[in-house]
């Protein structure tokens, strides 16, 4: 059974796959540029000292995203 939730809810150390993107326009383009397309595996690696942003492992790169951006990335586990 697949759970669907937004990336900011992904616990540290867990992986999920991109289901869809909620953003539009430039923002969406930026996320696509990171390789965040349907089916891409994302792993939550580490929180910053204040808990936001969070670093994710995406296609071989470590990318930090702020909470409000991660919120717009829908993933399935």
């Amino acid at each position: 059974m697949n759970d669907i939730f937004s990336l900011n809810q992904l616990p540290i150390g867990q992986k999920g796959r991109v289901y869809s993107l909620d953003s539009r326009g430039k923002e969406r383009r930026r996320m696509l540029d990171l390789g965040l397309v349907h089916g891409t595996t994302v792993e939550a690696l580490q929180k910053s000292p204040s808990g936001d942003p969070v670093a994710y492992f995406i296609r071989g790169a470590v990318i930090a995203l702020r909470d409000e951006d991660a919120r717009k990335i829908i993933i399935e586990s």
Binding site: E27, R30, D33, L34, H38, S48, P49, G60, A61, V62
Partner: protein, 716 residues
């Protein structure tokens, strides 16, 4: 020289990257790649090989070009800003895209990071859509090997249809082969057949509708298929660049316009709107990258980046992230302060010893007093101060800072501090540009190009000057050492100075954040836009190289600037102080004119004038202050740095003057170079004026409150 970029057939739409061909046979090579892939190292390794390197500022924010000769051909290597994709969103990416697409380089070398190849292939595939003349340089092979990442270069080359060369640029491995392939591709002796990327059938049909019309219009000046695809996915900045490049707007040509309409109707009928089109295009490229990556890379160790993750846990976790950041800052300052002491004293002894020698020579030659005064006491002495007081801390701080930068730590600082920047309504990458400001504010301002939202980029540009650059650190260090280090016992003095300096820096960061917030609530209203911050793999910096190069470069640079600015300024001060109008010298007139106002903000006329004269280069502020005090009468011999304090105290300095001078040093108008850079980057006098006024007025206000507060409380 002499040939413009137009006449040599390498037109550049933006005029941002201009190159000088020495002869028509020169080949132009564009060096592209994602950020942090060692592009600069490849650049330096190639151009350094034949000693054709230009004075080059070390980091990717400025576009550099260099020359190298290989098998009797001259190559012009253009280092273009690092970018993840050609679907540009930031100003830097536009520059990169325009050069690759419209700069008509003979060959594009795409540098890719062997430790993170999949992500890099995205850009490679996009560039292959634009041009056939590509050589892929898989760099950092040594790092990859260490991590157990095995790359089948042969396979990669077969898949991509262009030559692939593996390099470890830092060790100089693979560069000859790279130059061979580049030469072959540049002279079209090696035929490339780049892998075509095919999109879903509906999109292919739409492209097929537009392509013949575009082809007829653009002929073979640019890849028609690529242009067609881009016209279907409208992008204002690209269309603008395309129109500039072609000299007309092809979307207005009836043939193209008609076919575009048809194609768009076709897409709509299949339910493909602009968003779906882009999603599908990007997904196709990403999927292709994945396929190629899986076919050519073997991970011998699935946990290959465990060391990086461990380091990240240590350097960015809740418990240790910020304490370690502050400790590192302290360490750098401590090394700078203690390390500078000895050479500073040595240089001072040497240079002022030589001054006595000069004086003797002048006396022996029976040179007139005014000549000795102007040249030795004016020019030479100011120069000597710049070199002995300012140079050593700069020569130590700069390489240390560069080491930190090269190791990949700066993005971690941005990661740690992002919450503060978010609260200040600023862009997360402003932490990075702020850090660049510690090296040089002008570089920091150029660095703001990495911020793609115009509003946040302006906030970052306008506030960059609130952190002290390499040229202002020595001023702060000198004042702290002279006025506050003495408050504790000798053995811990340098430690105490370090702590004070750290407090001063933390204060400057706080001011930056406060001002960013202030701008975001007033003239630059808005909320932070989305951003993605890459935390690149840690790299062992090339300690020896960095130290040698930055000491050498910096030393020469500072000496040059000192000669250019400090010497005339010293001469000016001497002349002003010796031209008398009635009882008073001109200098006294100037300083006493400024004095009432300066006193109000806790300074004095001399200090304020020194800051004004220091506009071309902040390094000369302290030397000018000393020079002015000495010229106004009580001339004395300076045996050591201790006595500098005496000069200041004799001229009425108290701890409050010291504090206000430090505040004003942190918060006053940017130096000439920075102002000029801000004008260039913002293309607006209005914003440049604000960048000038904002720190000056806020600095004066703060100094006013501090000075008068302290006076009211009877503290000073």
């Amino acid at each position: 020289m002499g040939l413009t970029h137009q006449s040599t057939g390498a037109p550049v739409a933006h005029g941002e990257l201009r190159m000088e061909k020495k002869s028509r046979n020169d080949r132009v090579i564009a060096l592209a790649g994602n950020p942090n892939v060692g592009k600069s190292t490849v650049f330096n390794a190639l151009t350094g090989m034949n000693q054709h390197t230009r004075n080059w500022q070390g980091k990717t924010v400025t576009n550099a070009q260099g020359y190298y000769t290989h098998r009797a051909t001259d190559f012009i290597l253009v280092d273009i800003p690092g970018t993840y994709s050609l679907m540009a969103s930031s100003a830097e990416e536009v520059v990169a895209r325009d050069f690759i697409c419209f700069g008509k380089p003979d060959t594009v070398v795409v540098v890719a990071d062997a430790t993170c190849l999949e992500r890099n292939l995205n850009l490679v595939l996009q560039i292959l859509e634009v041009t056939d003349n590509v050589v892929v340089c898989v760099n950092l092979l040594d790092e990859a090997k260490k991590k157990g990442i095995q790359i089948n270069l042969q396979m990669l080359s077969e898949q991509l249809g262009v030559p692939v060369v593996g390099t470890s640029a830092r060790a100089g491995v693979g560069l000859t082969e790279l130059m061979d392939r580049v030469e072959e591709v540049s002279f079209r002796r090696l035929n490339t057949s780049p892998l075509p990327v095919f999109y879903r059938p509906e999109i292919e049909k739409a492209i097929a509708l537009v392509e013949p019309a575009v082809e007829q219009t653009v002929q073979n000046r640019i890849d028609a298929r690529w242009v067609s695809l881009k016209l279907l996915d409208p992008d204002e900045s690209l269309e603008e660049s395309l129109a500039t490049y072609l000299g007309r707007d092809i979307t207005k040509e009836p043939l193209v316009k008609g076919s575009l309409k048809k194609a768009q109707r076709l897409l709509r009928e299949h339910g493909i709107g602009p968003e779906e089109l882009r999603d599908s295009v990007v997904s196709t490229i990403v999927a292709k990258s994945e396929t190629i990556y899986q076919a050519s890379v073997i991970l011998k160790n699935q946990e290959y980046n465990r060391r990086d993750r461990r380091l990240d846990k240590l350097l960015t976790s809740k418990a240790t992230g910020i304490p370690i950041m502050l400790a590192l800052l302290c360490l750098i300052f401590w090394l700078t302060i203690t390390g500078a002491n000895y050479p500073s004293q040595l240089l001072s002894d040497l240079l002022f010893g030589f001054q006595d020698q000069l004086t003797q020579w002048f006396t022996a030659m029976h040179a007139p007093d005014w000549l000795h005064g102007a040249l030795v006491l004016g020019m030479y002495r100011t120069l000597a101060w710049v070199v002995s007081v300012m140079l050593p801390p700069m020569a130590i701080f700069f390489p240390l800072f560069t080491l930190l930068e090269d190791s990949g730590y700066l993005p971690r600082i941005a990661f740690n501090m992002d919450k503060f920047f978010k609260k200040a309504n600023a862009h997360g990458k402003q932490a990075l540009t702020m850090c660049m400001g510690f090296g040089c504010n002008a570089c920091g301002v150029i660095g703001c190009r990495i911020i793609d939202s115009p509003r946040e980029r302006l906030v970052a540009v306008l506030t960059n000057n609130f952190v002290p650059c390499n040229g202002r650190f020595p001023t702060l260090i000198a004042i702290i050492t002279m006025f506050f280090a003495g408050m504790v016992a000798l053995p811990v003095q340098s430690l105490f100075s370090t702590l004070l300096l750290t407090v001063v820096i933390v204060f400057s960061v706080a001011v930056t954040l406060f001002m960013s917030k202030f701008l975001s609530k007033t003239v630059l209203k808005g909320v932070p836009s989305s951003f993605a911050l890459e935390l690149p793999p840690y790299r062992r910096p090339q300690i020896g190289k960095v130290i040698v190069r930055s000491i050498f470069d910096r030393t020469l640079f500072v000496l040059g600037r000192a000669a250019a600015v400090a010497a005339p300024a010293g001469l000016l001060i001497w002349v002003l102080s010796n031209v008398m109008i009635g009882e008073m010298s001109l200098l006294a007139y100037c300083t006493s004119f400024l004095d009432p106002f300066a006193q109000m903000i806790g300074l004095d006329g001399v200090i304020l004038m020194a800051f004004i004269l220091g506009f071309p280069a902040n390094e000369i502020v302290i030397p000018i202050i000393l020079m002015s005090y000495l010229c106004t009468g009580n001339l004395m011999d300076l045996e050591n740095l201790e006595q500098l304090r005496t000069i200041l105290v004799d001229n009425g300095w108290t701890w409050l003057t010291a504090v206000c001078t430090m505040i004003f040093s942190l918060m006053h108008f940017p130096c000439g170079t920075t102002c000029w850079t801000i004008k260039k980057e913002t293309k607006s006098w209005k914003w440049t004026a604000l960048a000038f006024v904002l720190p000056t007025v806020s600095g004066m206000l703060l100094c006013f409150f501090v000075a008068n507060g302290a006076r009211l409380l009877g503290l000073a």
